[in-house]
Symmetry: D2
Subunit: 326 residues, 4 copies
């Protein structure tokens, strides 16, 4: 019999990320789901829309938002005022500069004052700040799979500054959300591959912001939709300088992290390597100054709900792996 120490309310529980979070927390030894809300009233699922009145009736210490950025931007200030900690899975608080929201998201941010306070929730690099944060911006799925291998290389000044770092991302369809759209219709996705949001994808500024020294001019991210339900595979091509070994840097950085694994040189992970786990697995191949890095994760776990649980564990002071390994 578990004795739960903290309660969490989920908003957006009918979407794919919200469902995954519900699944993960259901077997968490310390965190209980104190309440659940749909993004809007959803007759079919029976989930009710969010209201503060209902929220106050639950014994929630934190609220996780599995919502679109519009709703997140609206709810976060009110939730903080009401004393709740928040983990936001949308992109609404991932960027520091409000101008980037105009440039990449096409809207004016309505809570710019909170952008500075929000902590980018990448546990491998922000553990301390996350532990004391009121508002954690859970990273994007493509971004997580890109910055985990790239942060150590930028920090070590391992990348030839004259090269353009190219991140070619391929994602499963659950990343596009549960709302039926022409582009998620089975017949449009099946037997198809497509690139989308080319040179305009919203995860780009998020990646650049996390990489010390990266610039939009020397960083290109391209997203692709492939006919799988879950999973992301990022192929990263770059030039190292001074014959630095990207593999050595990565292997050392992640020698002891529970959720990031670096394979032996020349070995590469595939999407099956990580399905339904909170792992990000990284492989590298080098030839001369050219290095190709392949990183994979499950977009709904390490790319969304699993990383949210990692963040909750840090915020509540639990073991990093609590609720994340069977």
């Amino acid at each position: 019999m578990n004795i739960y120490a903290h309660g969490v309310a989920i908003v957006g529980v009918t979407g794919y990320a919200g469902q995954e979070l519900e699944r993960l927390l259901a077997s968490h030894p310390k965190i209980q789901i104190a309440g659940k809300f749909a993004s809007k009233a959803n007759e079919k699922s029976g989930a009710e829309a969010f209201s503060f009145e209902r929220l106050r009736g639950f014994s929630a210490d934190a609220v996780v938002l599995a919502t679109e950025h519009e709703l997140s931007m609206q709810l976060v200030p009110q939730l903080l005022d009401a004393g709740y900690s928040v983990v936001d899975m949308s992109g609404a608080f991932r960027l520091k500069d409000p101008q980037l929201y105009q440039d990449w998201y096409g809207f004016e941010h309505t809570a710019p004052a909170l952008l500075g306070e929000a902590v980018y929730g990448l546990p491998e690099f922000r553990a301390e700040a996350i532990a004391s944060a009121r508002i954690v911006a859970n990273p994007g799925c493509y971004a997580t799979a890109a910055v985990l291998p790239l942060i150590p290389l930028y920090k070590a000044d391992a990348i030839d500054p004259g090269c353009t770092v190219v991140v070619d991302g391929k994602s499963g369809v659950s990343g596009a959300g549960r709302q039926p759209k022409p582009e998620t219709h089975f017949c449009e996705v099946n037997e198809n591959i497509s690139a989308y949001s080319v040179l305009q994808h919203r995860h780009t500024p998020e990646m650049v912001a996390q990489l010390p020294g990266a610039t939009f001019d020397r960083f290109v991210f391209t997203a692709h939709l492939v006919p799988i339900s879950r999973g992301i595979l990022n192929t990263i091509t770059l030039r190292t300088q001074d014959r630095i070994s990207a593999h050595s840097i990565l292997a050392e950085t992640y020698a002891k992290t529970p959720f990031v694994q670096v394979l032996s040189p020349g070995q590469l992970p595939n999407v099956h390597s990580v399905t339904k786990t909170n792992l990000c697995v990284i492989g590298t191949v080098a030839r001369g100054d050219n290095t190709v890095i392949v990183s994979v994760l499950d977009n709904l776990v390490k790319g969304a709900a699993g990383q949210a649980v990692q963040n909750l564990n840090l915020m509540f002071g639990y073991e990093p792996t609590a609720g994340l390994v069977s």
Copy 2:
């Protein structure tokens, strides 16, 4: 009622490319399938193994090899000696330098004297040479989808020489051939994405050889397997110099070609755009000096059998589109 003017024998008719060629030639107005052979005797399909004795019994003007490169390397010299023209769909005669076969294929070429004579069968650029060739090396599928957009840019000196051109290819499973292997088992491919032959893929030297000014040091091709049966999508990332527009060059080059189409700037093709057609469709997106090009084709048609028919049309003097549009 058609009156066939030329006969063609196919070797390797039980594989995916061989089958596709059979399908295409079945409705060709001028070329008749004079004879069919399996690569080796195939009990189940009833196709017999190749023999010169049987070949002589057919009224074939040319032989198309839909065979592995080992068999192609062995048969081509004998077929030329016997007076047949040959279109070889394997990689055995695509490279000029025998050393590249040691480096990238891992074998010593047994007919190096013919490498110089063999014409790389890319009709959009080698029409004249193909028309008079005895031996045409039909290009690789990934290579076709890469060099069609890149040749014009390299020729125009449009690419920043300091940049690494990155070709990120994604292919359907038919490209791996019909022979059952662990990596083509449905359960291994389904719900998976994987990179393979990273920095070692045999289409790389083929691409570099076609691109004037390209070097292995500044050219990276990565192949990926995705769970579709047919189709290739190549995502090409490069920097242009002097603000040259890649789109303008491509649109001009391919203004009148029947099988290469260039979309309006910012528009991108997907695999469905080309399924079961002989088209290669190209889209471009630019931001500053960065350009992303997406090119798609059906690996069994423009990437194999359809391109072989284009080559036969040139060799026999027919319309470029004969047998290739319904």
Copy 3:
């Protein structure tokens, strides 16, 4: 150079069946697409909504409705009044008894007077009536794959009257239409199989009506959705009486039909056997009195647009195969 002898207008050209019809008629030697309409104004596709005013501007001899049954029921009387022949691909005119629309479709038919006149458009059995019809009700996809093998057996009194004929249908997702719905979202269909409309599927009364002697009590049809885009496979289980061979009856019935093929006893077709063709292929296996029949077709071709072209050929007096074989 073709000289078109008849013009056809298509309503509902943005749906999957409408698109397929457009594709087929584009290469028909005698029938020209005189005009195209969306079911409703569709900004994205640029297709305009149907209007009689626009229709009168086209030189159309017949109108094919690739529309929902509500719209078909509304348009057909007006189109007939205006002098057009109609092929309706919806279910609105397939049943004779208006009560069946209340029972199985849940609505009151608004043009019951035309139900008697409408000809069920199964060319293999209704060629003469179709040839002189003003309104042809194009059969349902599951129904076509069920009644083609079953009509000859019921007619020959081959089926044990005490047995329940069980039709277990499996269909690709294009059968559910192009409108995005939760149940056609890639992530809901992928890695899933589901039965739907069990004992309530609207194709059931259509099948029973075509089978002399069949009753709802002794006929069960179950529909299933499987993760493919195109194709239907019906597995039909029944008992024959007097040791009659179902295979013999079927082989004889379809000895000379261009689009229905019966395989040798024990041989079975699969969906690949018919993809993108207008064929219905039938296989049988028998053991004692039990017979299992497997019939396959492409739901968008023989199950919809291809059969509509067959009907148009009959109505206009062309060869049965015109526009249907390459």
Copy 4:
């Protein structure tokens, strides 16, 4: 920290069922994997072939065979002689009558004396016999999904004896095993549906044997391959007699079983309902005397490895759900 009470050796650990068993036992609170063998020496996986010498070095109380029936038939007598309990996942010991092996499997059984002793390992109905068995024959995947809904109906005499019970099974590709074969090649399975072993499937005699009153003449099972990796959906069509409600019987029978669930009348499960669980979920729809039952399970869990763990739990005296719920 777990203290393991029993050890199990697995033979055939490189196949899909063997892998799944390894995955399940890895988190079992009481049973430890004492040793692992491949069916034959497997270089790539590093798994060694079975030998008694190596087995004796492990502290195994029982051996689970995830092997082909030929190897099972050979090993079981020797393992019993050596004092091990055995759970055999092959079909080698599921039938009582040796003649059925000649009729349906095409071989002469080499250990017919053990067929009488072997217990059919369906925990919901044989718990007591399994608990004291030396040799448990783990049921087939299709068979489990068929007999769980049908045993209670046959026992209650609910089925019209004049009707033929029709079981239409659809399975994912992992059921065909891991060995690459033409029929499991991605390109053959993708966008395809096929029926196989029609009226000859080996699970048929297994089903008939478990169903009191069933006869081969009045029972037809048809297996189909669909493009998913895991899962079985059986659609069962039958006539009840005396207006007996199949739903009531099933709901009552399975009111308290942890792994068999019966949905409300008219509600139907799909494959997603059970993926990666040990559940068999059953739904029913009735109209007059006709009843359609849909039952689903994960062929690798309740249809193989999970059911083997259920059997081990019974044999070792653990909770039924030990190691099977997270």
